[in-house]
Assembly symmetry: C2
Homo-oligomer: 127 residues x 2
DNA sequence: CTGTTTGTACGAATATCTTCGTAAACGAAT
DNA sequence: ATTCGTTTACGAAGATATTCGTACAAACAG
């Protein structure tokens, strides 16, 4: 079993931005981060340096302004976080999580259709 | 907006047990906890005392052996954790979370049926 | 070249979480 | 009453996360 990726709250916020934008400078990340929460520039910098030490991001330091990129796979991270959550908070029942998620995060009919399709495919494959 | 419930990892594990068992003593919780992870008794005790300070649990201290009970609603907590996760890690798309959850946490056909039913009901109500 | 801006590095203060040792209180058994 | 096992209270150490000030380097403007 691979060691689980366990980013902290703050690290996750940065990862999310990196996943969305692709390779970015500290300043770019910082500016987006600032919209969501109060933060000093060096704070963001330090966080990203730590993430680099931990291997959560890679960086290109060839130019003066370094460019950071997510080093952990988005889907893999999502999956790990979800599984942990299912285990602890939903006593192992994924469907309970699914219903809870759908119940309170108003989804469009299109999204619901997509999920329905997905369900059908899953059932086919299971045979 | 109510202040979000933000239990730590360890606190969540304890809450999960309390939700499952209902009111319990420290020893009862500790014994279950021990099956999942290494932990000293006083460690569990301290955690639950802190949770009491934070208002995550209530306790009946009338007898020598105190009895603890979850003070935060299970569904509400689940919802808040999920919403946060959807926002940060799934860029706001609940359906993406749903598919990710279903895809990797093999669910039984019964569970899938339950979800399908749930989807239908949701769509009806939305009209 | 000199001063200003923009960036990284580093270290330290602070906060929060986790763990556990030790002591005191209590009840039950001898 | 003394002892023994169980429980709570308290405090502190260790680990991890968060925040930011300061120093130094590079690029840039004049």
């Amino acid at each position: 079993m691979n060691k689980p990726i366990k980013p902290t709250e703050s690290e996750l916020e940065i990862l999310a931005i990196l996943w969305e934008r692709g390779p970015s400078t500290v300043r770019e990340i910082h500016e987006i981060l600032e919209r969501q929460k109060e933060a000093g520039y060096t704070t963001t910098l330090k966080l990203m340096q730590i993430m680099h030490e931990k291997g959560l991001v890679t960086r290109d330091a060839s130019a003066k302004t370094h460019i950071y990129e997510a080093a952990v796979d988005r889907e893999l991270t999502q999956r790990q976080l979800l599984n942990k959550m299912i285990d602890t908070v939903f006593k192992g029942s994924a469907s309970q999580l699914v219903m809870q998620a759908l119940g309170h995060h108003r989804s469009s009919p299109e999204e619901l259709d997509m999920i329905r399709q997905y369900l059908n495919e899953m059932e086919k494959k299971q045979k």
